[in-house]
C-alpha cells in the first residue's frame, strides 16, 4: 500500500517537474515560463520529498522532508519574484498575446520609480513611507 502511494507520489511529482520543463521550453515569454517552472518545479520537488518521507517513514527522514518543504516554499517564490522583477525591468519581451500591462505605465525606467497610482490617497491614516532600509 505504502509502496503504491510512494509510487504515485513519485510519478505525480515527476509529472509536475516534466510539465514545468515542458512549460519553460514551450511557453512564449519569461513571465509565463516562470509560472510553469517556479510552481510546478516546487510542487514536483515537494511531492517527491513527500514520497521520500513516506518511503522511509522514519522520524528523522520525515522531519527533514518537512524542513525541505518549508525551505522550498520560502525560497522558491523569492527567487521567482526577484528574477521576474529583474527580467521585467530589463525589458524582457512580453508575449504578443499579453492582454494587459498595468505595470508598464507606472514604471519609469529612467529613475526606476514605480508608482502605485494611489499616491496622495491615504488609507486608514497610516503614514506610508517607502522602505528606507536599503542602502544600495
Amino acid at each position: 500500500m505504502s509502496e503504491l502511494i510512494v509510487s504515485v507520489l513519485l510519478v505525480s511529482g515527476a509529472s509536475f517537474v516534466i510539465l514545468a520543463a515542458l512549460g519553460i521550453l514551450r511557453l512564449p515569454d519569461l513571465p509565463t515560463r516562470m509560472h510553469a517552472s517556479t510552481k510546478a518545479g516546487a510542487m514536483g520537488a515537494i511531492l517527491i520529498m513527500s514520497a521520500v518521507a513516506l518511503h522511509f517513514s522514519e522520524s528523522t527522514v520525515v522531519a527533514r522532508a518537512i524542513a525541505f518543504i518549508i525551505f522550498i516554499l520560502l525560497t522558491t517564490p523569492i527567487a521567482a519574484h526577484v528574477i521576474g522583477r529583474a527580467g521585467y525591468r530589463t525589458g524582457a519581451e512580453l508575449w504578443d498575446g499579453t492582454i494587459k500591462d498595468e505595470l508598464r505605465e507606472r514604471y519609469d525606467p529612467g529613475t526606476h520609480q514605480l508608482e502605485s497610482g494611489l499616491e496622495g490617497k491615504t488609507e486608514g491614516g497610516m503614514p506610508l513611507q517607502p522602505s528606507d532600509r536599503s542602502e544600495m
Binding site: 509529472s15 509536475f16 510539465l19 515542458l22 512549460g23 514551450r26 511557453l27 512564449p28 515569454d29 513571465p31 509565463t32 516562470m34 509560472h35 510553469a36 517556479t38 510552481k39 510546478a40 516546487a42 510542487m43 522514519e58 522520524s59 528523522t60 527522514v61 522531519a63 527533514r64 524542513a67 518549508i70 516554499l73 520560502l74 522558491t76 517564490p77 523569492i78 521567482a80 519574484h81 521576474g84 522583477r85 521585467y88 512580453l94 508575449w95 498575446g97 499579453t98 492582454i99 494587459k100 500591462d101 498595468e102 505595470l103 507606472r106 514604471y107 520609480q113 514605480l114 508608482e115 502605485s116 497610482g117 494611489l118 499616491e119 488609507e123 497610516m126 506610508l128 517607502p130 522602505s131
Partner: protein
Amino acid sequence: MTGMFWNLLLALAWAALSGSFTGMNLLAGFCFGYFALMVLQKQVPALKGYSRRLPRLMAFLFFFIRELVKSNLRVAYDIATPVWHMKPGVIAFPLEARSDMEIMFVSSLISLTPGTLSLDVSDDRRVLFIHAMFLQDEEQLRADLRELERRILKVMR
C-alpha cells in the same frame, strides 16, 4: 515576545532536522536559534499575538494546498496542450497588507499559486503588480487574490 516565538520555532526546527526531540537537543536547538536571532536582532520586525494564529494557520494551509493543486492543474493543462488558452497580463493589485512581513508572505504565496506571479511592489508599498496567466475573468481573479490575502492576514495578525 516575538524573539521568544522565533526562538522556539527555531528550536523545534532544529529538533525536527536532527530527528531527535530529546530535552537536550531542544535546548541545543534553542541555543543555536538564539544565536541565529542574536545575529539578526535589529532587523527582525515586531510580531505579536502568535498564540491566536495557530488554528488559523491550519485552516489556511488547507485552503492553500487546495488552491495550489487546482491552479497547478490549470497551468499544466495549458502547457500540455498545443494551443495556448492563456490570456496573460500584468495587473495592479492594491494591498491590504501593511507590514513588511505581511507583504512578503502575501506576495510569496501569490507567487506560489500557479497562474499568478508577484512581479513588483510599488514604491509606496500599496500596490502589488502581479503577472497572471489567465486573465479571462479579471474580476474573479482579483476576488480570489483578495480572499487569499485576507486569509493570510488573518493568520498573521
